[in-house]
């Protein structure tokens, strides 16, 4: 019986039914749910690793040992994992290794729109791309099969729309979880120059074999239409294009690397006009042009964002959809939740007028007005190192600069940055916003929370001891709900002429289960709007006075602590 599910759940079931033995991942939208769904099966080893590089290495080790292994990440996580993955392409596998990477065209929840297909090309690793949940399931199983048969890691590429759209899935009989017995093969798995050179040779031959086989393996499908137009596409774009141009012929690519040259040539010869429709980079298009085949691609389609049925129809037929338009409306951007412990940190930093290097997580929202606290945010862990760069270059006064990072992000890739600050005699101040969870991706556990992926007890790293062990002597812990102490703590740390760490510790408002009473505003309110500055969705301003929305307020008291008249009180 078929069941409605998101692509990520289908990938998880595909892996389980392929007999996966181990999954190691780091959460990242839109890939997070794969590992969470898989973890419901307690018979396999499933874990959250501290970052994608570690996750990939764990999976590589397992696959060398003879296990079927998988690791999942978002596209920018692939940058972190790239080091082991490029060389795992040489070692190949004894069991199987599938690397799921989820791109985010349109940047629904990411900082860039990089195209992971380039990783497949440059690492010489085959890549499959499903176009709905059923294919997520089928291709995941196929990826394990290809991995073992061709002795290669295999990429499974998703995009946000595939990862998070639900469609019907039918499961098949599961494969066994039997391990391939381990065998010591030093020359295959020890990548030093003398051993790596013959492996590179193997990689090139393997890709040539895959490139030939994918013309006939059935993974790439030719769909003959009645029109003159032929469209080459894959993933979600196939679904849009099929709806936009039902009469066209299609070459649907299930494998986006290597590309099926013979199929492309015969498809191109069978149509009058050839169109390449692909989100992000012109990868298929450049390949087709290099084969000497004329086509249309990025000359009519954009490099940016998600494609859609209307957009493809308009580009190919000029047909515009009819609909009512609306006037310019106030946007509704995401905001820090009511009771969020990060709020007072950003309010304080903003009031102090400090230069703030931000990081990746919920607390990126501290950049939005009216908090407007963050100056820069680039990638996971970058806050720590960027603040050091600002400090040591003399570009800004270290007494006016702080780096801000979350607990999970610090453990992901902030530790080495902090080590660098100490080693190179920096003077910057790091605030670790420890809300005891990986918040933004939907509350995953991490090595500081004391729980593992299934919520079972696990050792918790001691952040204070960790920072001290790295050589930071000035480590302070503060509850950010205490506005006065927080400000004093920051003032002292930035003026201290050595590296400082402030751990602002208070659990995420969404994991606190305690019953709370909402606050209310009394007649003492003078309408000064100061409380509006903390950007709490539970507070609004009407007829010259502040009002608390009792349905949203969790009674955290952060607004009350900055009210000059003490007008916000418990009900």
């Amino acid at each position: 019986m078929s069941q409605l599910m998101i692509g990520n759940q289908a990938v998880a079931l595909g892996a389980l039914d392929a007999g996966v033995n181990l999954i190691s991942s780091y959460p990242g939208t839109p890939s997070t749910e794969i590992t969470e769904f898989a973890a419901k099966d307690t018979t396999r080893h499933i874990e959250w690793a501290p970052n994608e590089k570690v996750a990939a290495e764990v999976a590589v080790g397992a696959s060398i040992g003879g296990a079927k292994a998988m690791c999942c990440m978002k596209h920018v996580g692939m940058n972190v994992a790239a080091d082991p993955v490029f060389t795992a392409a040489y070692t190949g596998v004894r069991g199987a290794l599938v690397i799921v990477v989820a791109d985010d065209p349109g940047m629904h929840s990411s900082q860039n729109e990089q195209d992971s297909r380039y990783y497949a090309i440059s690492s010489h690793i085959p890549m499959l791309e499903p176009s709905d949940s059923q294919e997520c399931y089928d291709y995941c199983r196929l990826a394990f099969k290809i991995s073992h048969e061709y002795d290669t890691p295999v990429f499974l590429r998703l995009t946000t729309r595939i990862a998070h759209s639900q469609s019907l899935v039918e499961r098949r009989d599961a494969d066994s979880t039997d391990l391939v017995p381990y065998k010591k093969e030093t020359a295959k798995y020890t990548m030093m120059p003398a051993f790596a050179r013959p492996r590179h040779d193997f990689v090139i031959k393997r890709m040539a074999r895959l490139g030939a086989d994918c013309n006939t393996s059935g993974i790439n499908q030719m769909i003959k239409g009645t029109g003159k137009l032929g469209i080459i596409c894959s993933g979600a774009v196939f679904r849009y294009a099929k709806e936009a141009m039902p009469e066209a012929s299609f070459l649907k690519l299930g494998m986006c690397h290597p590309l099926p040259d013979e199929l492309i040539k015969s498809f191109a010869a069978s149509v009058e006009e050839l169109i390449i429709a692909e989100e992000l980079e012109p990868i298929v298009e450049n390949h087709v042009r290099a084969l000497g085949i004329a086509c249309k691609g990025k000359d009519i389609f954009t490099l940016q964002g998600e494609y859609s049925t209307n957009m493809i129809a308009e580009a190919l037929t000029g047909k515009k959809p009819e609909f009512d338009t609306v006037p310019a409306l106030p946007a509704r951007p995401p905001v820090l939740c009511p009771g969020c412990p990060h709020r007072m940190v950003f309010y304080t930093l903003s009031r102090m007028g400090l230069t703030v290097m931000g990081d990746i997580g919920c607390y990126t929202l501290g950049a939005a007005a009216p908090l407007s606290a963050i100056d820069a945010c680039v990638c996971m862990g970058a806050s720590v190192s960027m603040a050091h760069g600002l400090d040591r270059s003399g570009a800004v006064d270290p007494k006016r600069t702080v780096a801000v990072i979350g607990d999970s992000t610090f453990l992901h890739s902030g530790i080495t940055g902090l080590l660098n600050v100490v080693y190179n005699k920096g003077n910057s101040t790091l605030m670790i916003l420890d809300n005891s969870i990986t918040g933004m991706t939907g509350h995953q556990q991490n090595p500081a929370t004391g729980k593992d992926v299934r919520g079972d007890e696990a050792p918790a790293v001691d952040l204070e001891q960790l920072c001290r062990a790295l050589g930071v002597q000035d480590v302070a812990v503060v509850d950010p709900f205490n506005a006065k102490e927080l400000k004093e703590c920051i003032t002292r740390a930035i003026n201290n002429p050595c590296p400082s760490v402030i751990i602002a510790r208070h659990p995420c408002a969404l994991i606190v289960k305690a019953k709370t009473t909402p606050l209310k505003v009394t007649d003492a309110c003078i309408g000064c709007r100061r409380c509006m500055g903390i950007a709490c969705p539970a507070l609004r301003f009407e007829n010259g006075k502040a009002i608390v929305d009792g349905s949203l307020c969790v009674g955290c008291g952060q607004c009350a602590s900055i009210c000059p008249k003490g007008a916000i009180v418990k009900q």
Binding site: S109, Q166, S167, Y240, P321, V326, P334, R529, P537, F541
Partner: protein
């Protein structure tokens, strides 16, 4: 033939449950169904949009401007924002509740006060209900989503009994009673 429903609201309003119910409804009535929503940033009180498509064969998982048979709007401003999705002759079912977005809270912009008038001027087939009050009557403001489903139920090919069964299957067991009450309030609104 098929049915395209766009659900819009504010992160935290329970649109996720509504999309789960409608997805299951699609699977009961049609051969194919797709539900699409974007997780992540939007959960933090931002605008949330979910597409539910059903029919003999559903190719694209998204509903675009001019394609929705029904817009189910959990909030007034989001209803207006979603108007372009509606096809000619489509229906707008909206909760009259207002939730102020941050640019309005901070005083940078004003909440449009004439949303229902704008919609009426455009000759939209609209059903406006105070679903929040009905949810409170049913027992908790949290079941605005089931009230909205009750309102929607009248525009579908599923019988009321089938709907009640569907709601029972989709909500957490402890909340069945309150959700069925909320559904009734919406259905009879």
């Amino acid at each position: 033939m098929g049915l395209n429903i766009v659900i819009v609201g504010v992160g935290g309003q329970g649109t996720l449950l509504a999309s789960r119910v409608l997805g299951n409804m699609g699977a009961m009535l049609y051969k194919d169904v797709k539900v699409s929503e974007v997780h992540g940033m939007s959960q933090r009180g931002g605008s949330v949009v979910t597409y539910v498509r059903m029919g003999d064969e559903v190719s694209s998982p998204i509903i675009e401007n001019g394609q929705a048979d029904i817009v189910l709007a959990f909030e007034r401003l989001e209803a207006l924002r979603a108007l372009p999705y509606l096809k000619k002759g489509g229906k707008m079912l909206l909760n009259t509740q207002q939730i102020l977005p941050m640019p309005v809270v901070s005083g940078a912009m004003e909440y449009p006060c004439d949303i229902l008038d704008i919609l009426k001027q455009k000759n939209v087939d609209i059903t406006a209900v105070d679903a929040l009050s009905l949810a409170v009557k049913a027992g908790t403001p949290k079941c605005v989503n089931t009230v909205m489903l009750g309102i929607l139920a009248r525009s579908t090919d599923l019988s009321k009994d089938q709907w009640l069964e569907l709601i029972k299957q989709c909500v957490p067991p402890k909340t069945v009673e309150i959700n069925l009450a909320a559904f009734e309030f919406g259905y009879n609104a």
